[in-house]
């Protein structure tokens, strides 16, 4: 029964004292939130610490929770704030604040090697591994936009809301992120 309820309904139920609702909600989002954090900070220990802090914040904020946006947007907004705090604490806030327009020129166009042969293309698993590495190599704002779309399932507008940037900035960051990943994985195009 709980499985059919929306995230927002579950959170409201938890606010009103339903402990089981929180378990369902947690099960739904634990993996995606953890991966978002892991790829954003790059260290498992730090990701663990942030993950716990974020869920504790969710628990504490239950009394004032109101459905004003999707639960995922709300959750990832908390995660975004915690990440910024973490980056600030480590003196790496500048990485978060660099906008795409400052560090990017044109969106890279990545021609695939002409002589790529299917047998020379890496195994799909290896390719996926490269993709994850490419994601982690993205500039922080672009990586965040990509992870919010990939893990949080957020739309461009929701990414803008979760990160406190406008729609255009979120859209631009996401576009640059995909362009870079395509550039890194040009062999995926040749594989098909």
């Amino acid at each position: 029964m709980d499985e059919l309820r929306t995230d927002e309904t579950l959170m409201l139920a938890y606010r009103d004292g339903d402990g089981a609702a929180f378990e369902v909600l947690y099960a739904r989002h634990r993996g995606r939130l953890f991966r978002y954090l892991l790829h954003q900070c790059g260290q498992r220990e730090l990701a663990d610490e942030l993950f716990q802090e974020i869920w504790m914040s969710v628990i504490r904020a239950r009394s004032s929770y109101e459905v004003s946006a999707k639960f995922t947007t709300w959750l990832f907004r908390i995660a975004h704030n915690r990440l910024i705090d973490g980056f600030r604490a480590r003196g790496r806030l500048a990485e978060f604040e660099v906008d795409v327009r400052d560090d990017e020129g044109e969106i890279p166009d990545c021609p695939a090697p002409v002589n790529d042969q299917p047998e020379r293309v890496l195994e799909r698993a290896q390719l996926a591994g490269r993709l994850v590495a490419a994601v982690e190599a993205l500039p922080v704002p672009q990586r965040e936009a990509f992870l919010l779309a990939a893990e949080g399932g957020l739309t461009v507008d929701e990414i803008g809301n979760a990160t406190g940037t406008g729609f255009e900035t979120a859209k631009s960051r996401l576009r640059y992120a995909y362009a870079r990943l395509r550039a890194e994985l040009k062999d995926l195009g040749g594989q098909r």
Binding site: R30, A61, N81, A125
Partner: protein, 292 residues
């Protein structure tokens, strides 16, 4: 699959996402899961305890006890009023009876039946009549006495001064209803005087007038202060009026309180909504929780 500028096929966003999910199976450890789920349950238990502590056992009896007290008070007051009225009526009728007996002892001897009938009638009338109507009943009673006497005796045998005597001889019963009748009138005149008095303060006393005007002036001054503060804030924080973005949560909440105290509730609510988007996990202070 999309085409790059050079014409080579490129993975689409969808394909990239699918590949990303294939490689991504990192999850939090079971220990972390346990810790978080236990914390969630513990917080609910704490909530429960807090709510129990905040409502002591005697509070559940507050409503029934108050209702009972009001009921008892109401009944005793009603009893008291009814009892007082009965006593008054008894006193009035008793005095009237005495007066009638004093004025016409001879008739009462010769015609005991008519006098006792008269007494009964007077009592019945007095009991039936409500308080404001009482004087009427009392005023008419001497005339009826005469009528009753007239029925029993020939008209010429009744002395002319006699009918007037009971009226003159019963000042006490008349005095009570008169005072009762006078009460509303006095009250009305007092009411009529009150506005005049207030008017006098305003007109003849400039200090009083100034006092009456002071709250208005103070409100206007507060409005002006709030407006100027807002203008200063807006100019300092940019033309968009998004004063609160980029501020610390505490400074932002202070700004919301300022808006609220300036009576700009709608703006305060809007700012609070933005605050909640910005800091979703910030536990709001009690004074701002109900601001909508």
């Amino acid at each position: 699959m999309t085409q790059s500028k050079s014409g080579t096929p490129e993975p689409s966003e969808h394909e990239l996402l699918a590949l990303y999910h294939e490689a991504n199976d990192a999850e939090p450890g079971p220990l972390l899961d346990q810790r978080i789920l236990a914390a969630a349950k513990a917080e609910l238990l704490l909530d429960h305890k807090r709510s129990q502590r905040s409502a002591p056992w005697w509070k559940s009896l507050l409503v029934p006890l108050t209702t009972l007290a009001i009921g008892v008070l109401g009944v005793s007051l009603t009893w008291h009023v009814v009892d007082q009225r009965e006593q008054e009526l008894r006193a009035i009728t008793g005095q009237m009876d005495d007066a009638v007996v004093e004025q016409a002892p001879a008739e009462s001897v010769t015609q005991p039946l008519s006098v006792t009938q008269e007494k009964k009638e007077t009592r019945r009338d007095a009991k039936d009549a409500s308080k404001p109507a009482a004087p009427e009943v009392l005023q008419s009673s001497p005339a009826r006495q005469v009528e009753a006497k007239g029925q029993a005796q020939p008209l010429d045998s009744v002395p002319l001064s006699k009918p007037a005597a009971p009226v003159a001889a019963t000042p006490a019963p008349m005095a009570v209803p008169q005072s009762v009748q006078q009460q509303p009138a006095q009250k009305l005149s007092a009411d009529a005087e009150a506005p005049q008095f207030v008017g006098e303060i305003g007109e003849s006393n400039p200090a009083g007038k100034a006092e009456m005007a002071a709250p208005d002036a103070k409100l206007r001054l507060d409005d002006l202060r709030a407006e100027s503060a807002n203008l200063q804030g807006n100019s300092a924080k940019g033309a968009s009026g998004m004063a609160d973005d980029g501020e610390t949560p505490e400074a932002w909440l202070k700004h919301i309180r300022e808006l609220q105290s300036a009576g700009r509730d709608a703006e305060a609510a809007q700012s609070l909504a933005r605050f909640r988007v910005h800091y979703p996990d910030h536990v709001l202070p009690a004074d701002l929780v109900n601001l909508k």
